[in-house]
Symmetry: C2
Subunit: 207 residues, 2 copies
């Protein structure tokens, strides 16, 4: 699996993994700005400084490349989130921190804003991915709100499920407005306000 490959011309051993990562990063940039359909392999190739055929040596086709970008991002994001959170209330605080840190990661936000809209089309190559992503996100957040509910900290009339749906909707919707008009929107403060309104806890965007 990780056996060395002979140097073919002048490259060092096992350059593939690094190249793959470089390509993934460029592809993220392209898909974030232009979406899947409109983002071209030519753009990715130009960004990497490689030919289109070079890209397709590492990824079978364009759909495979998109899937790899999303898979890679998910792994990184889940890891970061797990590092921040533990249980119930504190995982919601972690969410605010995540929103705060995202403000310096416009590319990532743009990727999901662009692709989530595009992928609502049933035949989009990432459609299933996003359906699953939201199912998982709702289930995860519902657990956090369930924990609050058991401690009587959920506002009257609010269910754990609806709070989960509303939290995700808030985050997504804020991102769209923020991308269109960054100075007008304070994402983490808005999220803190939503969570405060829907629970009996006072959340804050401050560290």
């Amino acid at each position: 699996m990780t056996a060395r490959q002979p140097p073919t011309s002048r490259g060092p051993y096992r350059k593939s993994a690094a190249t793959r990562t470089t390509i993934l990063d460029a592809a993220l940039e392209v898909f974030a700005v232009s979406g899947f359909h409109s983002g071209s392999l030519r753009d990715v190739a130009r960004l990497v400084g490689m030919s289109e055929a070079g890209i397709l040596h590492h990824f079978a086709d364009k759909v495979t490349l998109l899937a790899a970008v999303l898979e890679h991002r998910d792994a990184v994001d889940i890891e970061q989130f797990r590092r921040l959170s533990a249980d119930g209330e504190s995982s919601l605080h972690a969410l605010i921190q995540l929103a705060k840190s995202n403000e310096s990661r416009e590319r990532i936000i743009r990727l999901y804003a662009t692709l989530s809209g595009e992928s609502t089309a049933p035949d989009h190559p990432a459609h299933e991915h996003f359906v699953d992503r939201y199912v998982r996100a709702r289930a995860f957040l519902r657990e956090s709100f369930d924990a609050l509910d058991r401690r009587g900290l959920l506002r009257a009339g609010v269910s754990a499920e609806s709070a989960a749906i509303g939290t995700i909707a808030t985050m997504d919707g804020l991102q769209t407005q923020w991308l269109l008009d960054p100075d007008a929107i304070d994402m983490s403060a808005q999220l803190a306000q939503y969570l405060s309104a829907v629970t009996e806890i006072t959340f804050s965007a401050e560290v």
Copy 2:
């Protein structure tokens, strides 16, 4: 301006206006499902039962067609909303009714979900349109929440501006989740819950 034109072959007088409307409707469908970049004039033409050149006789180019679709939708939506609303509190109730009625207008929701994501790219032909749209939407909703605030009906710690931003974010985010998984999301109920959480009023999705 509305002077009759002579019949050229077999058509009746002033067929243009009707044809334009037919094209706009087809274009809305195409842009809603595929977005601007990926939705093609060919698709529009096929839907109308006309050639691509036929479409371009009525609209100078693709960008003009998109602008016309958005302009037409805005006019219709503003009209519908004005018909429902009057002042302050009741205009928020109108918003819930709008969310409810939208549940049977998937095309429209899909159009805005798809295009708002796509148009976050600064060089997208509808970028300015959406920036303006959100500025106007926030200003309009802020007035409604200001009216509530003056009556002491805004939840402590919530400003009219942030409530406006949060309301729009909630609506947008719900639409994305609803498009991906319609059975899992009750848009109007969720919106009512958000408004109830952020004000001292109990909103309901029921008529």
